[in-house]
Subunit: 265 residues, 2 copies
DNA sequence: GTACAGGGCG
DNA sequence: CGCCCTGTAC
């Protein structure tokens, strides 16, 4: 037989502002794991009690200047750690890792990069290279592993509403896409795309500044759930919950969800 | 015989932040007139629709740098005007006047004065002198008239929690009290005090910066409803609604309410 | 467009 | 303490 394992990722763009929406979504969807990015709170202000009252464990790492990541889970998480551990800047508010029901989950908020000529863009490319190394040092593509989060990269032309005009945007820049491709080659499957091959217009982010971006579907697919092959093969479905982007005070991103059929026990 | 006319005043300290609280209070209390101060919005951002949906007319004058006044009324207002009209700075965001059901209402947000040695304190004293002249030019103490608002003056020792220590505060300064007394002498009755003579500890403002000011009742009575004698004689009750200061996101002030029995018609 | 930080203010 | 503002980031 086997049990369903439901995973979701959401760039909440302030956990303070989005807490009611997240609690409602958790109650309605009850995922085994929810990965959050851009929580934008220092740890002492993270609303951990609200998650516990909703029946979730939660681990998190934030700071004052933005960023911030968290993993909420129905089962208690094991082997929790934060940041890249290669001797470079650990950037702990951008990476949290936890093992839930035996499955290692890495949740990242990849640096956005500001503009192609800004030092932050070099840092983004370097960060993705360091992340590939991180997977290589800690995991094997032959074993189950989940990588979730806001990757700040749209992998393919199909993943942006205007691939020509956006060619030099930091989230669709050839160098950013190549850096992401290096990680995919290490051994990941794009779980959403596995269930929706060649489907255009499937986005997880719509820029607040673009008028009526959601209605006109002028979006980007920059949030992802990727899995190593032994886990990806067990995926049964994946979807984007656009309704959450139509809520009262929505984030500019929305929820991405994937389901896996796990062996019993 | 006769109908009740209920008037309220509230320094909301940002109409944007306080709108939910105000709408709830209006629904529960249904005053004929609500005078608001420190709306802190330019006119194009005043939430007039929300008042209309609550069944209220509303007139208002605001600006970018703070201040801002409004009069909401169940009946349509007549003779609406803004500011002092004596050739000096009109300061329109500090005075709104409207006639409701035949009763002229002047709603003011008197300048606070910053400190006794600051030019703004001289401006405050001058403003109160100009206001006395304004009443003299437009009205007669022999006719009904209401003056409501944040006067930024506690008239008597009984109206502050520590009259000795606060002697030189701009809101209890002898010169400010004298300037207010000049207006009272023109022909006003302090309606709240008429119904609560010699009652200490009756305040409408508690400084945010004083820890647990409300619980310790370290307040000030600086918000007022004053009436000319023919109207004051018809007042039947007046009270301070401290509950609104215990709400979710309260202002540092609270609502002051007065009721009048008007002749039929 | 939305939310942060930091500074001014009462 | 909790508004305003300005500037910055995405």
């Amino acid at each position: 037989m086997g049990e369903v394992f439901r995973v979701a990722t959401y760039n909440c763009n302030s956990i303070r502002t989005r807490l009611p929406l997240i609690l409602k979504w958790l109650a309605a969807n009850r995922p085994d794991v929810l990965c959050l990015q851009e929580t934008k709170v220092p740890d002492e202000e993270f609303p951990a009690d609200a998650f516990r009252e909703a029946g979730y464990h939660v681990v998190f790492r934030g700071q004052k200047g933005g960023a911030g990541v968290a993993i909420a889970s129905l089962a208690a998480p094991d082997d929790v750690s934060f940041g890249l551990d290669d001797g470079g800047p650990p950037d702990e508010a951008r990476l949290v890792r936890a093992t839930v029901r035996g499955i290692p989950v890495v949740n990242t908020y990849v640096p956005q990069g500001r503009s192609p000529d800004h030092p932050m863009f070099r840092y983004k490319l370097e960060w993705l290279a360091r992340l590939r190394d991180y997977f290589d040092r800690h995991f094997s593509p032959a074993e189950p592993l989940l990588w979730c989060g806001d990757f700040n990269v749209a992998p393919e032309e199909i993943d942006v509403h205007n691939p020509v005009r956006l060619k030099h945007h930091v989230d669709f820049h050839p160098e950013a896409r190549a850096a992401l491709e290096r990680i995919r080659e290490w051994g990941f499957v794009d779980v959403f795309r596995r269930h929706h091959p060649n489907e255009p217009g499937q986005y997880t982010f719509w820029d607040y500044r673009v008028p009526r971006a959601l209605e006109r579907n002028l979006g980007w697919r920059v949030d992802h759930i990727w899995a190593t092959p032994p886990l990806a093969e067990r995926s049964v479905d994946a979807w984007i919950d656009r309704e959450a982007r139509r809520a009262e005070k929505p984030s500019d991103h929305t929820f991405l969800v994937a389901e896996f059929k796990l062996p019993p026990g």
